[in-house]
């Protein structure tokens, strides 16, 4: 498979991920997520980006990619720690659901695609995916998780996470320009 074709597959996969998340979100408009389900989605979404960062750490030698990946790993771990502390305090157990399952299955495909690449092709694929993933997650947090959260502290945590995701997206877009 040529590099161009591989890039097309990755781009299609990313777009598919965003489209499926949007579809899932539309479906969820009819079936409200509970707070335990929202907690699960929040933890899973953060863990996925930590996993992508772990792949970048092993496959990239680019200083900007490595620095970005290190920030993603550290920041998303902080968010997970805060989320776990909050649900523990609230006595809520994160509950697996259709949205978190969809996120995980899409992430598995993206990880395979990333693992198959190397060098500059990997760097571009990784940062392109980071831009697309953060756009999708920001949409989900703004459009689904915050509006549907019932507990005010859980809603507050999600509202505090949103600016972090937006800063990550700006950072990813800055790095992405280096690989255009």
């Amino acid at each position: 498979m040529t590099i161009l074709k591989k890039m097309q597959v990755l781009a299609a996969g990313t777009l598919s991920c965003v489209a499926l998340m949007t579809t899932t979100l539309s479906a969820q408009e009819k079936h409200q997520l509970t707070d335990p389900e929202i907690a699960s989605v929040a933890v899973v979404a953060n863990q996925i980006d930590m996993d992508y960062a772990g792949i970048a750490k092993t496959k990239s030698k680019d200083a900007d990619i490595l620095k970005f990946a290190a920030t993603m790993a550290a920041d998303h771990k902080s968010v997970i720690d805060q989320a776990v502390a909050l649900v523990t305090q609230l006595g809520v157990t994160p509950k697996d659901n259709a949205v978190s399952q969809k996120l995980l299955s899409d992430a598995q495909k993206t990880k395979k695609t990333l693992q198959a690449k190397s060098g500059k092709a990997f760097n571009k694929a990784y940062i392109d995916n980071e831009v697309a993933y953060h756009q999708a997650v920001i949409g989900a947090v703004e459009g689904l998780l915050i509006p549907e959260a019932q507990n005010s502290e859980l809603k507050g945590l999600l509202q505090k996470v949103l600016p972090i995701l937006k800063a990550h997206l700006s950072h990813a877009e800055m790095v992405q320009k280096e690989f255009e």
Binding site: A74, D75, S78, V79, K160, P163, I164, A167, S170
Partner: protein
């Protein structure tokens, strides 16, 4: 007569004390009071993003976010190093400068010396 002399001496003493306390009437000018400005780091922004200060003033950066930040001169002549959540870092102002968070480069601020 003695009572009048005592009163004069007392008033003279009072006048001298007032003269010494008056700004500019001593050989040593009163030290200028140094100011303190607090910059809150919250929601991935420096608040306020631009501060005015005098040389020697202190600026205290307080991290209210749930992630590490840093305060780094732009260009990079100094840095605070990682600033964990709920911790603060103090800068003594030496001149006007732009700064940013090198961990999250979209976060920017400015210090303007008056």
């Amino acid at each position: 007569m003695k009572a009048k002399t005592d009163k004069t001496v007392w008033l003279l003493g009072l006048w001298m004390c007032g003269l010494l306390a008056w700004p500019g009437c001593t050989n040593h000018p009163a030290p200028q009071k140094k100011g303190k400005v607090v910059v809150e780091i919250s929601q991935m922004t420096f608040q306020p993003a631009q501060v005015s200060a005098h040389t020697g003033d202190t600026i205290v950066f307080v991290n209210h976010d749930m992630v590490n930040h840093d305060i780094t001169a732009d260009p990079k002549s100094w840095t605070s190093g990682p600033l964990p959540p709920n911790e603060s870092w103090t800068l003594i102002v030496t001149g006007s400068t732009a700064y940013f968070c090198s961990i999250h480069p979209s976060m920017k601020g400015k210090i303007l010396v008056q």
